[in-house]
Subunit: 275 residues, 2 copies
């Protein structure tokens, strides 16, 4: 997908919501205990209930890998299910990959060749040749970690060389490697006040923003400081939606939570784009 | 394994060699074309031919993930094969993982719970909570990227705050999170001259050193600048050993290449430890 196509989906659904599909067996509703494939079944019901309100899904690979081959098979089924439902939904492999060039090439093949993802999250520590192999698949994206939402972000991301913090250097240097049609950045909602600084460096790139909800970030602030002329935001919520309820009706409650976020997003979009 | 147990294996085998198991279908010897599981078969024959000369193996996950579920099954079989052959061989999941705390916990479960790895490589960008979940499995290790062997290492790893380069900050800060019995660092052999600086910060930690061979690093320099009182080095070679030959005798040629490296290592060990 191009950035324009993502923007069009955002306007159409009046939403820039991304739902994180992070299934933990111990947190799944009891009603799924008898299922042959509880992880896929959980995802399928969450997707059915939320897809009307979302423009993107983001399965985090850790949750699938931790259940071995059965987990990875459930991931594969999940991605194909979303694709069959609506090819305009943007699907992000949240895998935080990155290795020397010839190895990153194999990771790119895994997420874009073996599996039909639209994008993959990438850790920037190893620099250019660790990222560029993900940019050679037409229509697919690399989403580089810039400023993350966790406590540990303070350890290295603010390391400052001649007034430039590391996350600012990552934004400045890496934007030369790709375009606004194949590079996005992760910026945590828990650092919403930094979005203004970040927009000065990457005014036109899409940002993937985790940390709203369970991690405490404010959607209103993210919209205020982060929106650009194509919206430029995908705001992720995982636990706040998928684990909102653990009864038999977990899916309709998840759908309600997604709709609430969509409705708030629609206000900010209306404000900015008069839609 | 403890660092002392690794050191004892090094003295016993007079080797600090780690063999990287990075199978690419397109580079496998033709004689494996008819095999039901060419990736595992390739690994098995490489392991049989080299284990006498090596103290560690390091499969890089990218190569397995790029072949989907069959690739991951071959990885799982490979690790269990090494374990059955000799439980004293140190097995490294070269996966360069790292995510927010509750997610890294799932990655740790994948490599230490689902699969019997001794260690996993970890990217430091997201800081403390992204690394510590890997340190809570007794006898298992996190190996943090400090200074990598690739060209892209120049992009961010030398970012300098008050005289401290980023890789030095990673070493300084992260060593507080664990011990010399559960934390190692990746330092590329292509930057061997930096090993003296690095040993001033982490005199006692083991270092995993890729980049000897195909990437151009010198084993002699690595030994000179990097060895400590427990050897403190695991030097990796992948392509220089596993793709040394593509005939039917690929395994015995790989064994020869491993033995050559072991013999050179034995000289440096003899020099230092009078063994």
């Amino acid at each position: 997908m191009t950035s324009k196509e993502i923007y069009q989906q955002i306007l159409k659904k009046r939403s820039f919501l991304c739902v994180g599909l992070d299934p933990e067996i111990s947190r799944l509703p009891d009603c799924l205990a008898g299922s042959d494939d509880p992880i896929f079944e959980f995802n399928r019901r969450i997707i059915d209930a939320t897809h009307e309100y979302t423009v993107a899904y983001k399965p985090n690979f850790a949750f699938y890998e931790s259940y071995g081959p059965a987990g990875m098979a459930a991931l594969d089924k999940t991605v194909r299910y979303i694709n069959r439902l609506d090819t305009n939904i943007f699907i992000i492999a949240d895998a935080k990959r990155g290795d020397i060039g010839n190895t990153s090439k194999m990771y790119a093949r895994a997420v874009f060749g073996e599996m039909p993802f639209d994008a993959v999250t990438v850790a920037p520590y190893m620099g250019e040749d660790s990222v560029t192999p993900f940019l050679s698949y037409p229509g697919r994206w690399a989403i580089i970690l810039a400023l993350t939402s966790n406590r540990g972000a303070d350890d290295f991301q603010y390391h400052t060389d001649k007034g430039q913090r590391l996350f600012e250097r990552v934004l400045t240097v890496s934007q030369r490697w790709g375009t606004t049609d194949n590079l996005m950045y992760v910026v945590g909602a828990t650092r919403a006040e930094m979005l203004a600084d970040i927009r000065r460096i990457v005014p036109d790139h899409f940002l993937l923003v985790p940390g709203v909800g369970a991690q405490g970030g404010s959607l209103e602030e993210v919209a205020r400081y982060g929106m650009n002329s194509q919206c430029g935001l995908l705001v992720n919520s995982s636990r706040g939606i998928i684990y909102a309820d653990s009864s038999e009706n977990f899916d309709s409650v998840a759908g309600e939570k997604a709709r609430e976020m969509q409705e708030e997003m629609a206000l900010y979009l209306a404000d900015r784009f008069k839609v």
